[in-house]
Amino acid sequence: MDQFLQALASGLLLGGFYAVMVLGFSIIWGVMGVINLAHGEFRMIGAYAAWALFRAFGLDPFASLVIILPVMFVVGYALQTILLNRVVERPHLMALLVTFGVSISLANLYKVIYSADPRSVPVSYNGSFELFGVTMPIVKTIIFFLALLIMGLLHTFLHHTRLGKSIRAAAQNKDAARIVGIEIHKVYAITAGICIALTAGAGAMLSPTQAIFPFMGPPFTLKAFTITALGGLGRIPGALLGGLLLGVTELMVATYVPGIGTNLGVAVSFVLLVVILIVRPQGLLGGLRPMEVE
């Protein structure tokens, strides 16, 4: 029972992180119909930025968000303006190939800059505490609550500000949004800026708990896809539900399938992805089409 509770708690904490990691991917897909295959690489960039700031100035990964978020917003804005806006209205494959190219280039650029050696950010509070007999890692608990906060803020932004409303309008009906005077490409660029900043921020937050290396990206891109397929497209509650489901599943498999270790947990999420795509291509909650952002 203790083992079960432990796996459940760890799974939920992991799921909270997954939820905040997947938001950027899910919203870009939901708003402009682009599947960003470079998603994991932007997470990797965030993690490296946190590592570099920690090493150079001793800056805490959570404090470094103040720098990383605005910088990565500009990067995302530029990426959308320079590359993605050119392919966003062409067949899906084109955008897929462009982001695939971005993914390879970034991963290998970082390999050249930082070498392939894994890095880590050893923060002083990287311990854990006990709660009702369950061990809770401190960093992951902080991330979990920060994730909930970010999701709340994002939800408020999308529903109660003018800009947020125009992003949702662009997602629902591009042409109608154009007619009422929304500059689609500008809205797309702002969306990409927010999403890339969020993704890099998620990478920075997780940097204390995981080894950082240039090729850490692709598994996360696939996980983001799995979670989006689980929870539905561009929906914040869906991202949370999908993230928690995947997190708990991975931890349960790692705990109860003997002799194989955590690697299978990773493989399980990919098997899960293929199964979901086959059984319910529209996603578990039925929102897997470029339609609406809640």
């Binding site: 190939l97 050249v112 086959i278």
Partner: protein, 336 residues
């Protein structure tokens, strides 16, 4: 894509010319080892043949059928591992180990069988969903191979008996490449090939006319997987060492996609042309900027999509279909 549906009755030369040129080229290449070249030159040529074969296979499913497979290297890996496991770990009654020639068709069959199993569900998915499902299959397979340590050797990999014979390797790949490209050439002109293109252009429309699209897609997928598996098996034999990270490498899929795109998706001669061009581009970049090699590949892919989406052959056929072609034409008009 109007370039792909040519006039109904092309002349005899146009119908057979491509194959004749191909056979001529193969005959010339068959003399190459007798011109006193070194083993490493033969090795280089063999690598080019591998790339041409892989790109042509990918083109069958990705270019002709329009199902962009982002995990096609999974069949390469399965072929390589089938070869590795059969040669090193299967003690048979009549021989202690299976030989290359016995293991080779089995490796292809394993890949084709896997294509059947994975294709039945995934080929029903449309557009990006298929691509991502295959990417997921690829990454999952790498992890599964790593986990099945008792059979696959896990992360430490498998050592194959070293049989280094550059000339035999050269002729084997030359023959395989000749066969595959000729097969693609034949498919492209056959009813089967036109059905694949119909599926790419309008799958629902093809279904309406009573075409069993699922069956056609699966057959194309299995053919592509079979030969990719055979190339993988050959590669394992030639390399004499396999582990999950050298066999299941994303770069292999990227190369297949790029070569097909550069040459022209869905054309017969585009992917071989693209493979040769990219190999030599890589060679130049590899020689001068070793570290930036993959980065340059990624950037090249982006530039291709933005400026040459129909590939070299596609753009030659219809210059107005690409932005580069339009740009050139506009520049030409200005000069007049």
């Amino acid at each position: 894509m109007s370039t792909l549906t040519q006039a109904a009755r092309p002349s005899l030369l146009r119908r057979w010319g491509g194959l004749l040129l191909w056979l001529l080229l193969l005959a010339l290449l068959a003399i190459y080892p007798y011109t006193g070249v070194t083993g490493s030159a033969l090795f280089t040529a063999t690598q080019v043949f591998v790339l041409v074969t892989l790109a042509s296979n990918w083109n069958l499913i990705g270019g002709m059928t329009g199902y962009v497979d982002f995990g096609h290297a999974v069949f390469f890996g399965l072929g390589a591992y089938s070869m590795g496991i059969l040669v090193t770990r299967v003690p048979l009654a009549f021989s202690p180990e299976l030989s290359f020639w016995q293991a080779l068709p089995l490796a292809g069959l394993v890949a084709a069988l896997f294509a059947l199993i994975i294709g039945l569900p995934t080929l029903r998915l449309k557009g990006p969903y298929f691509s991502i499902a295959m990417l997921g299959t690829f990454v999952a397979m790498r992890e599964i191979i790593r986990i099945l340590r008792p059979i696959t050797g896990g992360g430490t990999g498998l050592d194959l008996p070293p049989v280094l014979n550059r000339v035999n390797e050269y002729y084997f790949m030359l023959g395989l490449m000749g066969l595959v490209v000729a097969l693609i050439w034949w498919i492209r002109r056959s009813e089967f090939g036109y059905t694949l293109i119909a599926i790419r252009e309008d799958e629902i429309g093809a279904e309406m006319r009573g075409i069993n699209t699922t069956m056609h897609k699966i057959i194309a997928f299995m053919i592509a997987a079979f030969f990719t598996g055979i190339v993988g098996a050959f590669w394992a034999w030639q390399n004499t060492y396999i582990d999950p990270d050298v066999v299941f490498i994303e770069q292999r899929t990227v190369e297949m996609v790029m070569m097909s795109m550069l040459g022209g998706l869905g054309t017969v001669w585009g992917p071989p042309l693209g493979a040769v061009v990219i190999y030599f581009l890589q060679d130049v970049v590899w020689g001068n900027l070793l570290n930036f090699h993959l980065m340059a590949l990624g950037i090249l892919l982006i530039l291709l999509v933005l400026f040459l989406p129909e590939g070299i052959l596609g753009s030659l056929g219809d210059p107005s279909s690409t932005s580069l072609g339009r740009l050139l034409r506009r520049a030409g008009r200005r000069q007049e």
